[in-house]
Assembly symmetry: C2
Homo-oligomer: 439 residues x 2
């Protein structure tokens, strides 16, 4: 039996979990799979973690010691960011090594370039951990659902924002207050931008849509709006109307192109995604044959993410250990589907206006909406207790995003309007299964 | 490019779906995967379906024409049952062909024998469709979660019974009435035994536990109880106590051995499995590293099941088309874990007694339970409207199954008791994650 040799770059939370899992399962892998996994080299900025993990003897602060080590078969890249991660991929490929990575920022923007390089060098990129942490969605899209045309990939792909929205809903608290507490508890970073502004979810849906629809969707193609503007009032009003508010990442493969976006979304309170709470993730995948499926689990964290990394390592190792060739990376992005502009979106909207408490405001705002082609399904008006303002809630019928945007500008121009406080899209969940076969 | 040649045996609902998917995706597979899938032979009892599918020219009523065809790489077995399915597997292996199958009855009982034969012949068995229809759980357990020790596999694995229980809950109807309607609508077979008595779910959990725990769990090892005895009253009472009743298949990898069983189960109404309604399936998988995951989708039906079959075919074809060797079936059942007897189960119980409406019955029944070591947490007593009986509901603290069984016999011996109408286990969901790493 030949050993399968691993080099690992990045020994943070996930890296430590990976080393621990590989050490723990070593004998089991030998016995059950005939795979002898050996960590040959490890690299990080300083050797503290390597000491703790008992791998100081194979430690280096120079990543090239890993990528250029002739004995190594698989490089695990866990440092994140674009540089030197890009150079690590490139150098690993040049040395004929496969790369397993959790780097969503890099892959969301540059997977095309990297996949091409991998292919040219006859090696593979595996990135299960980059999409939904421990939930095996990449593998499912690449392999298990190959008998399907994938119609929709949508769900909760960021644990921090779901944690914040869940606590806002449960405790009636405001965004800032919960964010501060989440930071204190370690659920949110000191700089929370990547999470709360939706960029993390945008990278993930870009990767999943690229694989699922076999077309190139770049992170920059994803319309992205975070949750900073969602208020306790919005969540409470949503509940009254039978909805929950979640930060959804949505990618739909439509005849007009790929509709791909991340934004706060109202979904029916009875929908399965509405009951996904705390830091958990859940991804809906709709295939024309299989219909609606959902995959639920931890989207982040040391061991869940390490589980995905090790799954990828083992799928490569299964071949290497048995002397079989790994099939090189193919470029599955041939479809070249157009990306639909957000302005073309047709959906329903929830609108919260803060208006002066006087007669005629309702008529005035309703007229603006009508003039801009926005048809209304429900209106709710609440007098604020300690101010001279009212809260006006409109729920609309299906309208066009560009019309809604014009209406927003026109509403803001009205003297009696203090603020267009929120506009939240109400997702048409039924549309997710459009194109599925009857069964 | 060399074509990958398929022989298909069984052209029923699923077989028709498989042929359709392979025909439909042919060009896409060539373009994106470099795989040219060709259906070379098809076999069924009569040629009606083959005519409809436009494959009458490759049709035979003799399955040996498929298994012995030298050009064929992969045999798809979709006839179900033990014979001649066993002989089909054996003959296919002898001719060096891989087998993809949805045959849960066969694999639940004989996978060990068949896996050994496949291994000896250097070929593979793939059976994603045998476990949870379209939901890719087998592949997830075999590959993606390889970095985990699997602790629990549990869920709703039979669509017919979930459909019946869902309608009973929604409409307050009795089992017989809903079953008859389900049969009329095609959700239940004319002979509903395999579904409503739990045997179908037992086969599936046997297969999943064998793969997940890498030990042999035979269908006959699974304690199995169906839903015939669940009444509208039980469902209503469960709801009052905050529970839903679902037919769960549960396999837990405990230090005392494999706890594996199928029975009606009370779970908290807020649990994700409680909201899985209609004919849908959902499987919880808990791994020590990844923690809690759930996989949701259609567990049966033509296209969902065909999706799983084609996924398996493609994973084999990916190697064959590129001239790479498929790794032969390995025997992953080495752990030889003991199976825990149901009598050793410790859980909470719901007990519904139909008793005479007279003073002293409560004291009498409570004493029997106490004498048998069953501690009570809640009691509810309801006078029946049109009879001289009362309904007594007990919810117990954790008790031992063998004590509960003794209590049942002792209760039935009481003069004042008309019937021990129901005993339903209340699942300890918390225990499913015992042994998972802290994160």
């Amino acid at each position: 039996m030949r050993s399968v040799n691993i080099g690992i770059i990045g020994l943070g939370t996930v890296g430590g979990g990976v080393v621990h899992l590989i050490q723990r399962h070593h004998d089991d892998y030998v016995e059950h799979y005939g795979i002898d996994l050996q960590i040959k080299r490890a690299c990080s900025r300083s050797d503290g973690e390597a000491q703790k993990l008992g791998i100081a003897d194979i430690f280096s602060t120079n990543w090239q010691d890993v990528t250029s080590d002739e004995s190594i078969d698989i490089v695990i890249e866990l440092i994140g960011g674009e540089h030197p991660a890009t150079e690590i991929f490139e150098d690993a490929f040049a040395h004929g090594k496969h790369v397993v990575s959790a780097n969503k920022a890099l892959l969301g923007r540059h997977v095309e370039h990297l996949a091409k390089l991998a292919s040219e060098n006859g090696v593979q990129i595996k990135c299960e951990a980059a999409a939904a942490g421990g939930i095996p969605v990449v593998s499912t899209l690449e392999h298990d659902l190959a008998g399907n045309e994938i119609l929709t990939i949508a769900g909760i792909m960021n644990g921090t924002t779901n944690y914040i929205l869940s606590r806002m809903a449960q405790e009636g608290l405001g965004f800032d207050e919960v964010l501060a507490d989440a930071q204190r508890l370690g659920y949110a970073e000191a700089d929370p931008t990547a999470d709360v502004d939706g960029f993390d979810a945008a990278s993930k849906i870009a990767i999943l849509a690229s694989i699922g629809f076999r077309t190139r969707v770049n992170t920059d193609d994803v319309y992205t709006q975070g949750i900073r503007n969602v208020s306790a009032t919005d969540i409470e009003m949503a509940r009254e109307f039978g909805y929950a508010i979640k930060l959804l990442a949505i990618a739909r493969n439509t005849p007009q192109g790929v509709d791909v976006r991340v934004h706060p979304t109202m979904i029916p309170a009875t929908h399965q995604l509405a009951s996904v709470s705390g830091a958990m993730n859940a991804v809906f995948v709709v295939g024309d044959a299989v219909g609606e499926t959902m995959f639920y689990g931890a989207g982040a964290g040391s061991y869940p993410t390490a589980s995905a990394v090790v799954g990828d390592v083992m799928s490569l190792a299964d071949h290497i250990a048995h002397g079989k060739e790994v099939i090189p990376e193919s470029e599955p992005f041939g479809h070249n589907l157009p990306i639909r502009a957000i302005e073309e979106l047709h959906t329903r909207y929830y609108i919260r206006l803060t208006v002066e408490d006087k007669l005629g405001v309702l008529a005035e705002t309703t007229k603006v909406l009508a003039d801009d082609g926005i048809s209304i399904s429900h209106i709710s008006q609440t007098k604020s207790e300690d101010t001279d303002t009212c809260t006006l809630i409109y729920m609309t019928h299906t309208a066009k995003e560009s019309d809604m945007e014009k209406a927003r500008i026109d509403l803001e121009a009205l003297d009696s309007i203090r603020a267009v406080s929120s506009i939240i899209r109400i997702e048409d969940i039924e549309a997710w299964t459009e194109g599925a076969f009857d069964n």
